[in-house]
Amino acid sequence: MRFKDVFSIIGPGMIGPSSSHTAGAVRIGRVARELLGSQPERVVIRLYRSFADTYRGHGTDVALAAGLLGWDTDHDGIPQALVAAEQAGMELSFVPKPDNVPHPNTAALQMHGGGRELLVTGTSIGGGNIAIVGIDEFDVRFSGSFPTLVLRHADRIGLLADVTRLLSAARLNIGQMNVDRTSRSGAALTVVETDGPLPRDLVRSIARLEGVSEVRKIDLTKRRRRT
């Protein structure tokens, strides 16, 4: 099911004017920031289809900036987020693209920060709900509505069993999981959505597993301060 619960229909609480082009864009920006692990210094944001056509009027640009600042969808500062981003030392550029991608509201964020580069592609599927569909060259699919682990690791036998063993030892149920890899025995990326919050030491133990090169925790269910 694309929409999981009643609050994906009634909600989110948000600053207008568009749930898909404003609130959804805030969430895409926030997930992107959490995937990078820090505030990016420079972001080139490519916008596709309806995002490309109407981003200015819907405040998609301010919304993505707000998300990259780590803000929530109902933050009062959203209308001024581009200024706030500049003050925070983020350089953003928006590039509407004519390409025909599968989903009408798609943004691809090429982030640079802390000596790293990361490409995150997200789509806004309506009512403020999103799907992250790409991380660098990997295909993924997750909503950010659940506590989520994103692991980069070697494609080795037994690695996922090690991860799931640690999760079950922590009494955490997996709601959804997807795995993609560049090639057989190449680099792999796994996304795990869990039903409960992810404790810090669990994340640390997973990071210490042989073959795991990076772990990121994403949890948009955690509220941030409004202003």
Binding site: F3, I10, G13, S18, P98, Q110, G128
Partner: protein, 317 residues
């Protein structure tokens, strides 16, 4: 959730002797792992935001950033207060309140997406006016939101709720259907009557395109919220009177998906068709984004290396 369609929802309610709102609340708590009380509190907060948006839209300046819309709700409310309203006490208020919330949204104020921001006026318009007219408690209104959410959950998963995917029918149409079913249940209707209200309401918006002038959630979105609130009352009234949707509501939802899927891109929130493409619509677009089209061409040409360096428009107004 234990239900995937409206027929299944009604059957489950009948089997367990529960109204839709109660069944939804219990299902929600099961899905989220939080308590019934916590989930109710969250919804109560949302209802508070809705009421606040009605108040703001009727009392504060709601001129949008584009200057295209704002402050119409106050005019409609003034006409009602003068005694010249023509829709009856409930309809008069529902119209003014729905416009108020929608104008707050367009002026970048705080609202609850129900199911989207573009359609955020319909449910508060119907709910806040009905609460005043029928003397219902906030708790009862919160229950009504769970009913609306259950109906919307089915529509969203079996069809769509975003204009970019399915046109305005998916946004305003879904909101009207949700409000209609919820109002029918609030007024004592059975789960089946609430489900018929959904089908009746959705049939009236099938085919409605998403054609926002200048790409803004303003024209025609705001007035469609006003119309939507009144339509929702109409559908609830028919359902409560015993009118049934001859095409079962689940099939009406299927029809919405079929129609939305067949809609050309220009009618799906791209601001390239319908009202957005009229002479005046284009002129407004031109005034709002004088450099936009030129920029898009330039971006296409200069971004072949994927860096976007040639097309930064951060400095644009």
């Amino acid at each position: 959730m234990r239900f995937q369609d409206l027929q299944g929802l009604a059957a489950l309610c009948i089997r367990e002797g529960l109204p839709i709102h109660r069944l939804m609340l219990e299902e929600q708590a099961r899905e989220s792992g939080r308590t019934v009380r916590q989930e109710k509190m969250k919804m109560t907060d949302y209802y508070r935001v809705m009421k606040e948006a009605v108040r703001r839209g009727l009392t504060e300046d709601t001129r949008s950033r584009s200057g295209l819309t704002g402050n119409d709700a106050k005019q409609v409310e003034a006409l009602r207060e003068s005694g010249a309203g023509m829709l009856g006490p409930l309809g008069d208020k529902a119209l003014a309140y729905a416009l108020a919330v929608s104008e707050v949204n367009a002026s970048m104020g705080r609202i609850i997406a129900t199911p989207t921001a573009g359609s955020c006026g319909v449910i508060p318009g119907v709910f806040v006016s009905a609460q005043e007219e029928f003397g219902w408690s906030d708790e009862r209104m919160t229950e009504g939101l769970f009913t609306a959410g259950a109906l919307g959950y089915v529509i969203a998963n079996r069809s769509f709720v975003s204009g970019a995917e399915g046109g305005c029918q998916a946004e305003i149409g879904s909101a009207v259907a949700m409000a209609a079913g919820a109002l029918a249940e609030l007024r004592g209707g059975t789960p089946e009557q609430a489900v018929h209200a959904v089908g009746l309401a959705l049939k009236n918006s099938l085919g409605l395109v998403c054609d926002p002038v200048g790409g803004l959630v303003e024209v025609p979105c705001i007035v469609r919220n006003g119309f939507g609130a009144v339509s929702a009352i109409t559908a609830a009234q028919m359902a409560l009177a015993g009118v049934r949707s001859a095409i079962p509501s689940d099939e009406v939802i299927e029809a919405m998906r079929e129609v939305g899927g067949a809609m050309p891109d220009k009618y799906r929130e791209t601001a390239r068709g319908g009202l957005a493409a009229t002479k005046t619509g284009k002129r407004i677009m031109e005034e709002l984004h004088p450099r936009r089209h030129a920029k898009r061409e330039e971006a296409a040409a200069s971004d072949e290396d994927g860096t976007g360096q040639g097309a930064s428009d951060k400095d644009a107004p």
